[in-house]
Symmetry: C4
Subunit: 500 residues, 4 copies
């Protein structure tokens, strides 16, 4: 263990693939053997070989990622912070451009809906963060279909009911919620805002909404729980590690700290090809990249998504469910179920619920939306008893933008609905205030929509209130007749005189 | 009560939230206690605290709005008009721009259809008026669907019938009409033309068409009735006030003045979120607006729509129908029914008819069009007896642009069809002459279309004359395959040589 | 009768609404009483009051239109041609522009399909001619649907048949044709080419194709028949005049001159509102037009279409069929039938066939395409006996662009197919040579397509060779979700470096 | 036989239609009598009459095309290469432009999918090559439908299966393949890359993939086989010549050289009209072309496609199958079957399989995609016994871009899938390395997709894993309502302040 005051020089000597030390948060780590295991590739680490890597490390890893993943004997020691020659953070043209955009944001009063948050986030986010957050699998058919599906369900509104008072509070897995919506897990919140997931935690506390903590949060699990108010209900999203002991410790720690439900992700045995994200990474490096013939086997960085996937165990299977049951008393929810067959397997396996999800369109492309899967899955579950079933919850996520979407899912049998990116974009655009505004928008919409469909509480949101006959009608468009359309001259309306 | 000649100074002292007087039409009103009840928010009133507010008040309120809503003891007195320091109406750049547009309007002879009126209105209207008139609820799916639905019904024309003479006159709720169309209620007509709703009244008189007077007209009810010709039939659209006595007085006054039918709006227990309108208002104020953190609870102005909604009672229910029956002998029509269930409730409640309407797409979004709701509702009503039923009328409105649309609705069982915005845009563009031209266009189209489908009168407009098999086929489009479409190179036709 | 040598001056005195004489082809006509009956309005005639109107008259009227329609006593006499002060035809900027476009036309070798002809015609035609030819009724839904319908029928091609020799000759109403296509009637051919309909007559003669002569040809009936080769089969399209004697003379003259079949138009009791055409006319006059309040009742010119409609009798009905049968032995075909009901009425009335047509989309809008009407109509006709029926022909027209379209119609039961605009645009673009090229393209396509579907002659074009299951699936599109689509960022492909 | 050293001059004298000699690869050929038989027309040969034609000949013909097709007596002799006055290959502006584009290509690391290859190829290919490769028949409906069809099949993914190890190796017609994909035949590879088809042969060898050799390769059959590794499996695509002896020699030579299967093309009795290709050719010559009236019968060049079609025999029929069986022991596969009827004929004729193909959309337009034809054809084949059937293979090609497409076809019953253009574009863009990268992309995608759908090997790819309910839903779009859409003003999101 080197002397902290002179450690900087010592570290500087370990600046190669043969011996690679880095400094993170004033601590020294020997990552030589870890180079080839790093999900993000060795190249990015080698860039910081022998120097302080904190600034690159921080936005993309939770604080404890390195200590958790690196064996204790590789923790070399500490550095005197004063001796670190930090990369002088230069204010770049890009920084200035982004700050100007932040200054020019629409006043939050002008934000009327979730699309507005996304439009602002798209503009103010660093390109890499936007690419990571917004990307979907392959051709992004599914990510868009998630939205489209809601527009295929129409209301059948009832009139002349006394809707002076409408109530959309509910309980989700036994926890009170001010609305039938929970904030679903999204990864790497600090890419978009310095406070990361804490923006959500604090806003959720204020407005009685439940947050699902992501395994891949930028803030550590404990930071998030510490930021919560006493009694504030939290759920946990879980990627199952190849090393089940790590998972066990993580789950049991969460339960001990008061987490109320465990959502195990089952739709990601391998992370999807998110080409928008991959392309961003490639372009990022393209200044130096060349058509290097014969070097295809060199491992390449493949975007943020690929950098975080090796923690996920592809062997996870139904056989693991009893083990989960044995290590925790939290309700267990399987997140990512897509078929009636698997819904019944889940029910029969004794878990407490499922999330009809395609991972926000980020995994298997041309997988149907959770909403479209809802009616056949509810029909299948009815073979096990009346619905709703107090012992089994069915959640839906993906593509939700408005309270009306939530009401459609509830009418079709969902217990509650998860929104992930919507709240993520809200804090990317306006921090905690954005999340609060998002919640307020939903409340406004719930009130209006329940009045307009004639439902005074969630029990009155019945299947007859929607027309889902077109929900399964995903339509494959015929190719257009280009010669015809190019030749045809469209009609126009009357023209003004001399109007420029 | 101040001396009128010196009142201006007196009023000028009441220029704060603590004591707020304003002048409207040379009368002084103390609106201090009304500030927080004002549907449009207190901010806009405070702008005129202590001074003459007539110019801002006039286009958006009927003349009697302030006297009706403010207790008599707040009517402070009169001002000598000569003493009022009126805001000198400056001819702004925007005024000049609008006048130039008005001068450049297409000659009315070039107006061929209702789209032309809308295109002209869109250009010459103040942005705020256009936003208020044209906006729909939420994502404006329904407002557009209203139009699309008509294009899903196709004709089955019959040939070789002697169509020398065709007749499309009819009676609506016992009143003669020169066509199976009435002019439906739209609010705040003076936003678009100084004569407001009177444009409609006068044109309707000339051409034997029936106007439905809106509760929220810019002209007062009596102004409109006074403008009518003796015997000219008028209907009344009603928003039901929380104070039923106000409603009772209003309805009985209308009946006394000769109104022939009462259309009670049942699809607006709360006005919809019309974001185009809300955004216009927000942008309007954005010069001074800032991202004011922590000030979210300040009540904000939310567009013209929100400003007029507090007069509407969300508790209105089926239980109120007998009371309405007790206060008037006019036929009662429920405007805004959307389901067979409610159509039967209405029938069984003994009212005289319903309007299949979604409020011009301004209320619940992804609510189906009235036209699409028509076939199942007619089918349901047939369970109560043969159709058409002389005791019960079914009207349709929303999305109508041509006489052919009207004929399609009639073929599917409608009694007559309402057109609102079409006539509104006509007078915004060309005043009374616009409304007359609009009526003339419909007459031209009725003659041509009835000849072309082979119907000599409205009795010959039978269900077999349309193919509505696709009417329920609202199609949710699959997301397009962007990578493919960007890569594919469309065919082109033969190219001219050296043609620029 | 004035002295021809001084007649010019005499005529010049009759230059008002009170006494209006014009000169056409060196003859003087008193049209004072005809002014208000002129289908094109009085204004255009008054423009030539007292002077020579030949140049304006010629392209839009057949030579004998004036003599046929004006009573003999209004034929004032002749003028000495040398005395006529003709409007000196000035070569305008527009003339030069058009000539430059004609010079820049793609070489005819580069014309590969019918779309190419249309694209060329669209560019080289005078705007007014293009507007008249290309316009459809109302919103032009039907005119485009005509094309779209063919793309909803797909082939079921058979392989491994010896297709060395394929034969698509046929007979149509007993006349030999080199292909199962006839050239349908289109009006006013001289608007597009100085030789008008004669381009078709001459090309048809050369290639063994049958022309249907239009009632509203720019060339007179006799000019066309005179241009035909001995034995060249011709059909006649008939608009039935209010004065049946005129019709009788016309039909019997045609039969005497050898016309082989009579196609009576039954879908045009009144000509449609073709707004593109109407708008062109309006814009044409807009230099002088003003918003003339209160002058709506002045009769306005309403485009070329309206100018020719008063010759059509709206009283035409099934009762007239026996009369037609009594005046001619030609096969009688009803052009414009759209329903199985009327198809059966036609069959039972003893005519020889029908054309499933919507008048090229120029009459009733949202009327289905002839192709879509074909299957139910054939099914209905099968109730009268096996199909094909040697005594009854079913033709289809509208939207045809390729031989493959023709084969689809034949597979669904059509006897042959009519193409109108396709050949019209061919001669507008390239005169007679264009029509010949169009025929040659069809021959090329017939050979290729018959080989590729595995049919050696037209008898082998059977229903099983097409999949028409989607033919009736006219789909009404859901409105797109604009906020979502504006916010979503489409995927892109890999980018070139520094590529402009 | 002229003296090689002076032959150049001798050849130069034969420079007319009457006597036309050309030099190819330093050999002299008398092509006078061949002029009118040349599929590409005589014009292109006459351009080189009397001089060296090698440079024009090479990219478009296999080396042995001229020796195979020209009778031996027309092989005049050799030239001394030194005496040939070769057209000095000038570096044109176009050459420079193309080289700049090649230099600017995205690094191959940035290629993420098959669309990327196509986008690069589209840019770097000579316009003529791109037109030839990318064009489809007629309106290119089918070529695009091929892609669209895959997007109409959706996955039904299963979760919680242990997918640590997934295996997508298979055998195709008894040959091992590293994936259920073969590289289908595409013609004239040297138009796009100097190594032509050899790029594929070499990459296929390295990665265990099977190449189907095209009859119309730019490299000769033997060049390709010589480039293969020992034991590397190859298939052969066959166009059947009118002269069956040529075909027999070709097939038997292939079998002798180790080719493992014979794919006989049955969907091309005549090559399709590929208008993009034809138009390119026309434009190519347009500098000199004129509207030559009356010269239509002169034979014109009609694009690369038409130049190679006369070698194909339109008389090929089911009767020929026993003869093929008699000349070879290779498995016989019929490429281009589209109906259950023909699938059963093929099965009953005793061949070993079929390819559901429409020739990459290059032949009959509005022919359905192979994928859409798959379910009814598998259903028909089940009437002959259980499926999969070890004695009969069903392949699909057309429109494949991703491994997920392949898995969809397998789930619906396909044995394996062919990809043609995808690999063609890969080598046009990056040579052999491109093909290898393409294979690697597929492997990556197979791994990910099989994990995400929960299939560990190809046997687990079952029909229940896809939802093909929309596959047959080719939708014919209703024409849009232009007046409405032009008038409607779309919603927008919140605006930034002063953002340019």
């Amino acid at each position: 263990m080197p002397d902290p005051s002179s450690a900087t020089q010592t570290v500087a000597e370990h600046n190669s693939r043969d011996s690679c030390w880095i400094i993170v948060h004033d601590k020294i780590y020997d990552v030589t053997e870890f180079l080839d295991e790093h999900p993000g590739g060795s190249k990015i680490i080698l860039k910081y070989a022998g120097v302080d890597a904190t600034e690159a490390y921080e936005p993309i890893h939770p604080p404890d990622a390195i200590t958790t993943n690196l064996p204790i004997e590789k923790h070399i020691g500490a550095v005197d912070p004063n001796t670190i020659i930090r990369t002088v953070k230069q204010v770049t043209e890009e920084d200035r451009r982004r700050q100007a955009l932040l200054d020019a944001r629409p006043p939050i009063d002008e934000i009327l809906n979730f699309h507005d948050f996304e439009a602002v986030a798209k503009t103010v986010l660093p390109a890499k963060a936007w690419a990571y957050y917004s990307s979907g699998g392959d051709d992004e058919i599914t990510i868009r279909e998630n939205r489209a599906a809601f527009q295929r369900v129409w209301f059948r509104p009832r009139v002349l009911r006394d809707v002076s008072n409408v109530d959309w509070t509910t309980t989700i897995l036994g926890q009170k919620s001010s609305m039938p919506v929970y904030i679903s897990a999204t990864a790497l919140g600090k890419l978009g805002h310095p406070d990361g997931e804490l923006n959500v935690t604090r806003a959720a506390a204020k407005h009685g909404v439940i947050q699902m903590i992501p395994t891949l949060a930028s803030c550590s699990f404990d930071e998030i729980v510490d930021a919560a108010q006493p009694g504030q209900p939290l759920f946990l999203q879980l990627y199952v590690n190849r090393d089940r002991e790590i998972t066990k410790r993580y789950v049991q720690h969460a339960e001990k700290r008061g987490v109320k439900a465990l959502f195990i992700t089952v739709d990601a045995p391998q992370l999807g090809r998110r080409e928008k994200d991959m392309r961003m990474k490639a372009v990022d490096d393209s200044g130096t990249a060349k058509v290097q013939e014969g070097q295809q086997d060199v491992k390449k960085d493949q975007g943020v998504s690929r950098a975080i996937s090796s923690f996920i165990d592809p062997s996870l299977s139904w056989k693991d469910i009893p083990w989960f049951r044995s290590i925790t008393n939290m309700p267990i929810i399987l997140k990512g179920v897509a078929t009636p067959e698997d819904a019944l397997l889940a029910y029969d396996a004794g878990v407490q619920g499922i999330v009809l999800s395609n991972h926000g369109g980020r995994q298997l492309d041309t997988s149907p939306s959770g909403l479209e899967n809802l009616p056949p899955i509810i029909a299948a579950l009815r073979t096990r008893g009346p619905w709703p079933n107090p012992n089994f919850a069915v959640f839906v996520d993906g593509g939700v933008r408005r309270a009306s979407d939530v009401l459609k899912a509830l009418a079709l049998g969902a217990t509650a609905v998860g929104i992930g990116r919507g709240f993520l974009y809200a804090f990317c655009a306006y921090g905690q205030e954005g999340v609060e505004k998002a919640i307020q928008i939903l409340h406004d919409e719930f009130q209006m929509n329940m009045r307009l469909i004639g439902a005074r509480n969630l029990n009155e949101i019945v299947p007859e209130m929607v027309d889902a006959s077109a929900l399964h009608s995903r339509v494959g468009l015929s190719p257009p007749d280009n010669l015809y359309f190019n030749t045809y001259q469209p009609l126009t309306t009357a023209q003004f005189k001399n109007k420029l």
